[in-house]
C-alpha cells in the first residue's frame, strides 16, 4: 500500500485511536500514582502550566506517527472523547477543547504540507497546540484574573510547556517508539538495521 496517498489505512485509523486511548490510560494511571500532585496543583494552580504539555502530547505524537492530514486533530479529539467516556470530571467540555488543541498541531503539519516531520516541525506543532490551548483558557477560563500578572504569564508558560513537552518530548517519544519496532508499518519506523 502506498504511504504517500492521503487515504487512511485501517492500521492508521486503529493505531491513531490506540495512541489516544493509551494516553487516556496513562493519564488515569498518573492520577493513581501521583494523586497527591492534583491536590498540590489545586493549591497553586499556575503550576499546572508546567505539565500542561503532557496533555497535548497525543496531538503531536499522532501527527508524527501517522503522517496524514487530520491525524493530529483526530488523535487529540479522540483522546478528549476517551477521557470524557472514562469519567473525567470535565466531561463534555474537554471535547471542544481537544478539537481546538488538535487544530493547533494540525496547522503546523499542514504548514509543511505534511512532508516534514523533523524536530523543528514537531516543536512548532507543540507550540501551536500550546497556543490554541492557551487561547482557549485565556478567553474561557481565566477571564477574571489579572492580565499582566496572571493571564499573560499563564498563556506564555502553557506555550513553553507545550513546545518542550508535547513538541520536543513528542518527537523524542516517536523516535523511541520507532526504535522498538512497533512502527515498522509506518514511515516513522523505517530504516532499522536487519537481524
Amino acid at each position: 500500500m502506498d504511504n504517500t496517498t492521503n487515504r487512511w489505512r485501517t492500521i492508521d485509523i486503529v493505531v491513531a485511536s490506540v495512541i489516544a486511548v493509551a494516553f487516556g490510560v496513562i493519564f488515569w494511571a498518573w492520577g493513581l500514582v501521583w494523586s497527591a500532585t492534583e491536590g498540590a496543583f489545586a493549591f497553586f494552580p499556575p503550576a499546572q502550566t508546567l505539565i500542561y504539555g503532557v496533555w497535548l502530547m497525543p496531538a503531536v505524537v499522532g501527527g508524527l506517527v501517522i503522517r496524514k492530514p487530520g491525524a493530529a486533530l483526530y488523535c487529540e479529539t479522540v483522546a478528549a472523547v476517551v477521557s470524557a467516556l472514562l469519567g473525567s470530571q470535565w466531561a463534555g467540555t474537554v471535547i471542544p477543547q481537544g478539537i481546538v488543541q488538535g487544530i493547533g498541531a494540525e496547522l503546523a503539519f499542514a504548514a509543511f504540507r505534511y512532508r516534514s516531520f523533523r524536530l523543528p516541525t514537531a516543536a512548532l506543532a507543540g507550540a501551536l497546540t500550546g497556543l490554541s490551548a492557551a487561547l482557549f483558557d485565556f478567553f474561557v477560563w481565566n477571564v477574571e484574573t489579572e492580565l499582566v500578572n496572571y493571564r499573560i504569564p499563564y498563556a506564555l508558560l502553557t506555550i513553553v510547556s507545550a513546545t518542550v513537552i508535547a513538541g520536543i518530548g513528542g518527537w523524542l517519544l516517536t523516535r523511541a517508539l520507532a526504535n522498538t519496532g512497533v512502527l515498522d508499518r509506518f514511515p516513522a519506523g523505517r530504516n532499522r538495521a536487519l537481524v
Binding site: M1, N3, N179, T180, G181, V182, D184, R192, L194, V195
Partner: protein, 471 residues
C-alpha cells in the same frame, strides 16, 4: 469451496535477513482438509497470514505467487476466514453479538439478514451466552469460540485456523474441535496449524509438513506420511503419533520445603489453597480454564499481594528475608530466588532485543558483564535462539517467544522456578528440551512449579500434581 495455489512462495518480514518461509509449492483443492505441520519457526503462521491476504506489501518482501481461486488473496479476502492463535486481539466489539455481526456489516449484508446469521454462527460453535454478553467477560476458550463464530458467519470458502486450542484445558480444546468439525460445510476448505497431531487428525485428510529451510518436506494422507517419514519427522520436532517421549522422573527424594502456601487466595480469582514446594521436586498445577492457576503462580512468585492467607519462604530460599513474605521482597532479591514465567510470553518482555532480555536479570542481580555474556550465550544455544539474539522479542514466532520467556526466568539461576504453561505451542523437539532443562534443574536441587494443561508434560516430568477446581 475455495482452492489454494502457491507457486514458489516465499516471504521475508521487514527487518529480517532470513526468509520466514520460502520455496513453497502447494495446491489445495476445494473441500480438502489440511493439517499444516513444521517445527517452531518454520513459517506456518506466516503462510496462513499470506493465504488470508494479511501480509501487506509494506511489511516485507514476497517471492512467487499465492492464489485463492485464481485471485490475489489481498483482493479475495471475502473468501477466507481466519482464526488466530490469540483470541484477544481478534475481538473487535464490546458485545459478543456485535462482534460476530462486525464482519457481516463490513461485507454489506442487509440489516434484516445480519442477526439471523449471527445467531446461527453462535449456535454452530455452541456459544453458551446471549448476544449482549460483554466480550471482556469471557474465558479464553469462550473467546476462541466467539472468534470462530465471527469467521464462520462470513461463510468462508477457506477456513484457516492457527493453533486454535493452545491454552485451552482439554475439555475446552475438545469443544473447539467439535465445534470446528460440526461447523464446517462439506465443501469448505480447511487449513489447520496444530502441533498436537494426534488430536487434530480426526479433522483432516491430508498432512503438509513445511521444511524450516524452505519448501515442503512431505505431503499426503496422514498414515502414509507418518509411516514413511515418522521417525525423522519426530526427530525434527513434529509430534508424530506413536512416538512417545522418554519420561524424566526424579532421581533423588525431594529435599526440604522451600515455599509454603497457607490458605493462600485472592478472591474472586482464587479460593484458599494449601500447597508446599520442596527443593528437588517438580510440582504440577492443573485445573480447568479460569480455576485461578495463573493467579496462584503470580502469588507464589511474590508478584501479587495475597488477598487471603499467606506465602512463607524457608530460610534456605529466602536467606535473611525469610521473615517477610515474598511479595514484600525487593525486586533484585526476588529475581535471584524465584523465577517466574508468565502465561503470555509477551507480558514478560521488558527490553527490545532477545539478548538484552536474557541479560537483564543477571545484570540487575549484580553479575559481572563477562559472566552475563556466558550465561546468555549458553541459554541462547540451548534453546536454539542464537540466530535471533538481536531480534526484537515481539517479532518472534509463538514457539520462539515461549522459549525466550522460559530462558529469561532461568537466567538468574533462581532456586525456585514457577512456570505458567511453559510448553504450549511447542514442537516436539523444544518440548523435549524443556523437559530436560527442568529435569536437570530439579535434579540439581531446584524447586519447580509448572502450571499446565499438558498431560504429556505432567507425565514426563512431574513428581506430584495439585488440581485446582473452578469456584
Amino acid at each position: 469451496m475455495s482452492a489454494v495455489l502457491l507457486r514458489g512462495f516465499g516471504w521475508r518480514h521487514a527487518g529480517r535477513r532470513a526468509w520466514a518461509v520460502r520455496g513453497v509449492d502447494l495446491r489445495v483443492e476445494a473441500g480438502e482438509r489440511v493439517l499444516l505441520l513444521g517445527p517452531s519457526g518454520a513459517g506456518k503462521s506466516t503462510l496462513l497470514s499470506a493465504l488470508a491476504g494479511l501480509l501487506p506489501e509494506d511489511s516485507g518482501e514476497q517471492e512467487g505467487t499465492v492464489e485463492i481461486d485464481g485471485l490475489d488473496p489481498r483482493k479475495g479476502r471475502e473468501r477466507v476466514g481466519i482464526v488466530f492463535q490469540d483470541p484477544q486481539t481478534q475481538l473487535v466489539m464490546a458485545r459478543c453479538g456485535d462482534d460476530v455481526a462486525f464482519g457481516l456489516e463490513n461485507r454489506g449484508v442487509p440489516t434484516a439478514e445480519i442477526w439471523p446469521r449471527v445467531d446461527e454462527a453462535l449456535r454452530r460453535v455452541g456459544f453458551p451466552y446471549s448476544r449482549d454478553r460483554n466480550t471482556a467477560a469471557l474465558s479464553g476458550g469462550e473467546q476462541q469460540r466467539l472468534a470462530l463464530a465471527g469467521a464462520l458467519a462470513l461463510r468462508p470458502g477457506l477456513l484457516l485456523l492457527d493453533e486454535p486450542t493452545a491454552n485451552l484445558d482439554p475439555a475446552g480444546a475438545d469443544l473447539i474441535r467439535q465445534a470446528v468439525a460440526g461447523a464446517l460445510d462439506a465443501d469448505t476448505t480447511l487449513i489447520l496449524v496444530e502441533h498436537r497431531v494426534a488430536e487434530a487428525l480426526p479433522l483432516v485428510d491430508r498432512v503438509v509438513v513445511l521444511e524450516p529451510g524452505g519448501g515442503v518436506r512431505a505431503d499426503g494422507p496422514p498414515e502414509e506420511i507418518f509411516a514413511a517419514h515418522g521417525a525423522t519427522l519426530a526427530d525434527e520436532g513434529v509430534w508424530v503419533p506413536g512416538h512417545p517421549v522418554v519420561p524424566r522422573p526424579a532421581t533423588a527424594t525431594p529435599g526440604d520445603l522451600l515455599l509454603t502456601a497457607d490458605r493462600l487466595g485472592l478472591p474472586p480469582r482464587l479460593g484458599p489453597t494449601n500447597l508446599g514446594v520442596r527443593a528437588g521436586e517438580a510440582l504440577a498445577v492443573r485445573g480447568p480454564n479460569g480455576a485461578g492457576k495463573s493467579t496462584l503462580a503470580l502469588l507464589l512468585g511474590g508478584l501479587l499481594k495475597p488477598g487471603t492467607g499467606r506465602v512463607t519462604a524457608s530460610a534456605e530460599l529466602a536467606g535473611s528475608d525469610h521473615r517477610t513474605p515474598p511479595h514484600r521482597w525487593r525486586a533484585p532479591a526476588l529475581a535471584k530466588r524465584i523465577g517466574s514465567v508468565f502465561q503470555d510470553p509477551e507480558h514478560q518482555f521488558v527490553t527490545s532485543t532477545v539478548f538484552d532480555e536474557l541479560a537483564l536479570g543477571p545484570r540487575r542481580t549484580g553479575q559481572q558483564e563477562a559472566a552475563v555474556k556466558d550465561t546468555v550465550a549458553e541459554l541462547l544455544e540451548r534453546l536454539r535462539l542464537t540466530r535471533l539474539a538481536a531480534a526484537n522479542p515481539y517479532t518472534l514466532s509463538g514457539g520462539e517467544a515461549r522459549r525466550l520467556s522460559v530462558a529469561t526466568a532461568l537466567a538468574t539461576a533462581p532456586r525456585l522456578v514457577i512456570c505458567d504453561e511453559p510448553t504450549f505451542g511447542q514442537d516436539r523437539r523444544t518440548w523435549r528440551e524443556l523437559v530436560d532443562l527442568f529435569a536437570d534443574l530439579r535434579d540439581a536441587g531446584h524447586g519447580i512449579v509448572t502450571v499446565t494443561h499438558d498431560a504429556d508434560f505432567v507425565a514426563a516430568l512431574a513428581d506430584r500434581t495439585v488440581t485446582l477446581e473452578r469456584q
